[in-house]
């Protein structure tokens, strides 16, 4: 029973052609589907039609007057003319009236050639002076003056309202509005406030939807009009959503001028967030590394590729040979392509002869991979992004989607607009929390207590799906027995949440038709991370809320290609496609394909590597596109450990904090300078394309990895990324049916085992990957470090909308820096008052591991007694003070809970 087949169809005649349309479609939609291009200015398929511009008028038989096609619904037997002399005359007049209110600046306008108003004016030969012509007044400053991302020229604005509506309806930021009315109407912000002081989230959708040049990219102005540009379709380098973007490239100067996205693109439908839209400047940053560097006497000097590779390859080889394969390790990069991750683990296991390979999932979602694999059999988001809008009850726990995964946030907003209910469990008041039906603001680190109590309540009230539990799961007895130790009352006490809320949330989740769970690092970055994940899986199985459209357990992955990094087997225990290293058959397959013996050592995780480096066990380390100094907890210890290494080689695009410790640095390429694929959080494999030439001598990473392998004595070479992909696909059943040709336009979701397989939207339909779903008995365990008299606050870390990870990419963008460039700590007003701290005061946050001095953001987003800090900033880095306590299974650090104290700093805030 799919939704599509339920749609009734309607027959109508368009310009003499018989057309079949869906009931409820507008005449415009029906026409566009039929390839009839009705002119339109105020229409954007993402928005509710308003019929404001009246350019889309058509003649409908039997109707008086002209009707707007964008608002008129199709009806059986309707006869429509879309292009007649009368319509042309009418449209011409409409356009002439618009032109009379539009300063015609085409020669200097960025939009020249890409402007709907221009196209239609030409098509209908509208006369710009028909009503006298526009009389420009003085150019007044407006809300966008001085904003480095978005610029607005009211003299070009035709008041179609698309920017205002998209900001309101799609983004729900509602930063823009119309002021006044009739002839004096104007787009602006509340009280004409500067954009960055409003609720604007700098997504730039106002720019991409604007049919004229009125809203434009500030930085792109003068960098090239459409005739000078080439649009290269690729995938956003930021979060795991994996938006399809177009890099608008000016070949003349090898620069990306702006980023756009087409309506209809997967999975983002033309929507972007601030990072995808304005975060590309790092590609052209003067800080990019352009030549290989070798450290001599503590100083870096430029070197040739040959020299650097020879040194790096030789040193790793020597260490391996002298101290055994466990003395070297490889850290792969989830910011890089599948091909590169595939090669990295291949190099580790061939040239390196070790399973010491890992990537950043250990920092974030390793518990997901482990926990879901143990319960369901595969560790990935169970549903597709486009299913989110049809979820009835969104159950969001430890996740801040509107900031960390903004486009998934937009899908959730769609669901909300369709009437979905929302339960949010988060110690912090995020956007979703504030808009939730139920917000459980529990104490950080008490998730399992909460989930157990919910499940107990569901069982007691018999709200569970007994049939599903019976038919599709195992170990239910032991599981339900375990729950006997957890009552709602106890959980209410321990989590510090009203019992009533816990029960209502449980009921709401159980009752949803369907419900779906979404979680992020609030679940995984705990010493009980894997158990947390398993318990969410328990909850879904208990209620039968999995294995169907719009229903399942959905981890939202962090880095652009962390799904791919895991899929590619850049993990000590897995080959590509989660084929186990300790499975002899699998090992044999890869040994056969790669022509080497596959090492059988256990291998470790990045957190192990760092510890082992400190202990002198690990001696050589090849770090590719990661910066553990900033991303791993307890920074001082990390630095000390890495300094203890005998040889460190970094493959980087910037001089990162880790690279500063390296012996050799290899200049790498950004996503815009190479070909390959990324796999997004919904398991969709998408094409990444080279758009610009890399700076200086920088090389595509897959090439560098091959060269390194060769330098280590294991020759490796490929002609292009596609060749690597094909090799990988041939060895990886879930990717088996994919090729660059098949994913050229739109990516495919794994599993996709054969070339005719359409890909898989949601997992576990009918049965789980592992057969029966396995219930786990989860005991609640306290976080590793709890507040005490010396450190009375609980500190959690997290992401903001504007920045990404360690900030090295986002902070290169003027637009983003203007919005957010400094670390801060959020604290509750009651705590601030007690400490005499005011908003914007400098405060020092101290833990057992160190201190940072940052600005205080005082409010009610955190619980009293809780502190929250982002980890995006090099100055005063948050991970200087986080706790290096790890999940018992995946060794993911407990970033979400440590004990801290805070006091007003004596330092005076630097003038800004």
């Amino acid at each position: 029973m799919t939704v599509l087949s339920a749609l009734k169809t309607v027959n109508l005649t368009l310009d003499g052609r018989e057309i079949i349309a869906h009931e409820g479609d507008t005449v415009l939609e029906a026409a566009l589907t039929a390839g009839i291009d009705i002119p339109r200015l105020c229409h954007d398929p993402r928005l509710k039609p308003v019929g404001a511009c009246r350019l889309c008028v058509v003649e409908i038989e039997g109707e008086r007057g002209l009707l707007t096609a964008c608002t008129m619904e199709v009806a059986e037997g309707m006869v429509v003319e879309t292009e007649t002399d009368r319509l042309a005359a009418k449209r011409k007049t409409v356009l002439e009236l618009i032109l009379d209110d539009h300063r015609v600046t085409c020669p200097t306008c960025d939009k020249n050639g890409d402007c709907a108003l221009m196209d239609y004016s030409y098509r209908y030969q509208a006369d710009q002076f028909a009503f006298g012509g526009y009389k420009p007044g003085p150019v007044e400053p407006n809300f966008a003056t001085g904003n480095k991302a978005i610029a607005f020229d009211p003299q070009l604005c035709i008041n179609c309202g698309r920017c205002v509506r998209i900001c309101d309806e799609v983004v729900m930021a509602s930063a823009l509005t119309f002021k006044m009315r009739a002839a004096s109407v104007e787009v602006t912000t509340p009280f004409d406030m500067p954009l960055n002081e409003t609720s604007c989230v700098l997504c730039g959708l106002c720019i991409t939807t604007c049919p004229t040049g009125a809203m434009y990219d500030r930085a792109a102005l003068g960098q090239g009009q459409i005739k000078d540009l080439e649009k290269v379709q690729t995938v956003c380098p930021y979060c795991g959503v994996g938006c399809t973007i177009e890099l608008n490239v000016n070949r003349a100067n090898n620069r990306i001028v702006r980023v756009t996205s087409q309506v209809g693109s997967v999975p983002n439908d033309g929507n972007l967030c601030v990072k995808g839209k304005f975060g590309f400047e790092y590609v052209h940053s003067p800080e990019r590394l352009t030549t290989p560097l070798i450290k001599e006497n503590g100083e870096f000097r430029e070197a040739s590729w040959d020299e650097a590779l020879e040194l790096a390859g030789r040193r790793l080889r020597e260490l391996r040979d002298e101290h055994g394969p466990d003395s070297i390790a490889f850290l792969s990069s989830c910011r890089c392509t599948n091909e590169e991750n595939y090669l990295m683990q291949k190099v580790a296991r061939t040239a390196g002869a070790t399973n010491n390979v890992d990537q950043c999932a250990t920092t974030c979602h390793a518990p997901t991979v482990a926990g879901l694999a143990a319960t369901f059999g595969s560790g990935a988001m169970t549903n597709a992004i486009d299913e989110i809008k049809d979820v009835d009850t969104l159950f969001i726990i430890g996740s801040n989607p509107t900031e960390a995964h903004p486009i998934i946030g937009l899908e959730m907003k769609k669901a909300l607009k369709k009437g979905a209910k929302m339960v949010v469990c988060d110690p912090r008041k995020t956007w979703v929390a504030e808009h939730a039906d139920i917000h459980i603001q529990h104490k950080p680190g008490t998730d399992n207590m909460l989930i157990n109590a919910m499940m107990r309540h569901i069982l007691e009230e018999e709200l569970h799906d007994a049939e599903f539990v019976e038919g599709r799961c195992e170990n239910f007895e032991a599981f339900s027995k375990n729950l006997q130790d957890y009552t709602v009352a106890e959980a209410a006490e321990l989590c510090d949440v009203p019992a009533e809320l816990i029960m209502r949330a449980a009921e709401m989740y159980a009752a949803g038709e369907p419900s779906s769970i979404f979680y992020t690092l609030g679940i995984t970055e705990h010493t009980s991370g894997t158990e947390n994940v398993q318990n969410l899986a328990n909850l879904a199985m208990l209620c039968g809320q999995i294995g169907k459209r719009s229903s399942g357990v959905n981890p939202l992955r962090g880095q652009n290609n962390v799904q791919g990094g895991c899929d590619m087997g850049a993990m000590h225990g897995d080959f590509p496609g989660y084929q186990k290293v300790d499975d002899e058959v699998v090992r044999f397959k890869f040994a056969e394909a790669w022509g080497v013996d596959i090492p059988t050592n256990k291998g470790g995780r990045v957190t192990d590597f760092i510890e082992q480096a400190g202990d002198g066990v690990l001696r050589g380390f090849y770090v590719f596109g990661e910066d553990p100094v900033l991303s791993e907890p307890n920074q001082a210890k990390v630095i000390k450990s890495l300094e203890n290494l005998e040889f460190l080689v970094c493959q980087e695009i910037f001089m990162s904090e880790t690279a500063k410790l390296a012996d050799v640095i290899l200049p790498a390429t950004s996503f815009a300078e190479k070909d390959g694929t990324f796999t997004n959080t919904e398991r969709r494999v998408q094409r990444v394309r080279k758009a610009v030439e890399p700076p200086g001598q920088a090389k595509a990473d897959w090439e560098i990895i091959c060269l390194m392998s060769t330098a280590m004595g294991h020759p490796m070479s490929y002609d292009n990324a596609g060749e690597i992909f094909d090799e990988m696909a041939s060895l990886t059943p879930s990717y088996g049916g994919m090729s660059f040709e098949r994913i050229d336009e739109v990516g495919l979701q794994w599993p996709c085992p054969t070339p005719d397989h359409p890909g898989t939207g949601f997992l576990h339909a009918g049965s789980f990957t592992r057969g029966l779903g396995l219930f786990h008995e989860i005991r609640f365990r306290e976080a590793a470090e709890l507040p005490d008299d010396d450190y009375p606050y609980i500190l959690s870390t997290g992401r903001t909308l504007y920045n990404y990870n360690i900030g090295n990419m986002t902070q290169k963008s003027d637009a983003i820096r203007q919005k957010q460039s400094k670390n801060f700590v959020e604290m509750h007003a009651s705590d601030a008052e007690r400490l005499g701290v005011a908003n914007d005061d400098l405060v020092t946050v101290t833990t057992r591991r160190g201190e940072v001095t940052v600005k205080a953001v005082v409010g009610d987003r955190t619980r009293p007694g809780a502190l929250w800090m982002p980890f995006h900033f090099v100055d005063q880095p948050t991970n200087r003070i986080t706790n290096d306590a790890f999940d018992n299974i995946t060794r993911t650090a407990e970033y979400k809970v440590c004990a801290a104290t805070v006091k007003k700093s004596a330092e005076v805030p630097a003038a800004t």
């Binding site: 308003v50 009707l67 608002t71 008129m72 619904e73 009315r181």
Partner: protein
Amino acid sequence: MTDTMVESGPTISSPEDLASLRDQLAAAAEGRRRVLVCSTGCLAIGAREVEATFRSEVAAAGLIGEVDVVQTGCHGLCAMAPVAVIEPYDIVYGRNRVKYIPDVISQTVMNGDVIRRFCYGRDAAMAHVEDIPFYAHQTKRVLRNVGRVDPQRIDDAIQRGVYAAAGKALTTMAPDEIVEEVKASALRGRGGGGFPAGLKWEICKQNPGNDRYLICNADEGDPGAFMDRALLEGDPHSVLEGMIISAYAIEATKGFIYVRAEYPIAVRHIRKAIDEARERGLLGDNILGSGYSLDIEVREGAGAFVCGEETAMIASLEGERGMARPKPPYPAVRGYHGEPTIINNVETFANVPLIIDEGGGDHRLQGHQDLRPRRPGQQHRPRRGADGGDDPRHRLRRRRRNAPQSRVQSRPDGRPIRRMCARLPPGPPHRLRLAQGGRGDHGLRRHDRDGQHDVHRRHRPLLHRLLRR
């Protein structure tokens, strides 16, 4: 924010209750002396002092309990403001002056003697309502209670028969039957569009929705229009009654009255009326024991003319900028919050109880302006024919220009304008330059004057040219 207290009275829980209450009230009112002071339009010209003086003089003369001083809506003779009517004689006095009020009380109120100076045309022969040509040639239907009831006392309305039709409709008729009656009556919307009301309701009912809504359009923004104001200020209960019946007919779950804020008196009166109706069981749950429940909310406009347009009004009710939305879909199909919604004008609703009373077919035969079906050539049926003449001495206070005289008239539609204007006071060279209809921009040209006045015909607005000449 009602500023007047709602008097409590017996709850009315069935049409029988209503009828017996009406009988009681009528018996009590029989032959009572009442001074009905216009307290709406005439407020602009001293009605408040007039009313206050009547009260204090009645008190001074020890007549409290014997003589009631009542604030009413507009009597129609606005040019004679401030106006008062003395019951039970039905004597109309205009240009009331505070200093003569003791005389009025002792002579007219107590004895029924006419004082000439306050009469229409200062002519004692025109002391009584029915003798004044201005009234004589009118057929008051929807305005029948205006000026006759205290709009702020529900008992007054009940005594005049208001809510009886609602009782009949809600307890003896099925919703669809009401729609059929309204269709049969050929009642056309009075808001300017002139769409047949019954047909609109039928369309609305054909659309499934979660809820249906009823909106009374009282935004009356057309310059020169004040019919809705007269009704809301003078007889709000009839408007409510019409809304209750209509809401029941379309099975609406909630009603709104959108009143422009420039009508503070109307806002006050309709709010009070709603509070009283709710208090007495005529609004709210289980109205008159019928099982039907409805509540009505008043929303004040905020100064945007365009909000009189129905889709703009809906936007405004939803809390948006009052921008018109393209039609179709019409509000009857997708209106307030996307649900089927009926918007009708105040006067349209005020007609509904009459239709229920008389039956749609009979009502149509009344040929009243409110009802004339849009069929060229059909004859209107005025109840009275010939002209009663006018008092030559009654002059309009003219200012600087030979300006139009204005007052609320209730006239059959389709009547030649020349005849309508014939009763303008004759005066210095009386050339008709402009006649403005009650609705919309109907500036009529001079040579249109022999044409028919059809509230639904669009005359070309030549206002400016006419004035320049």
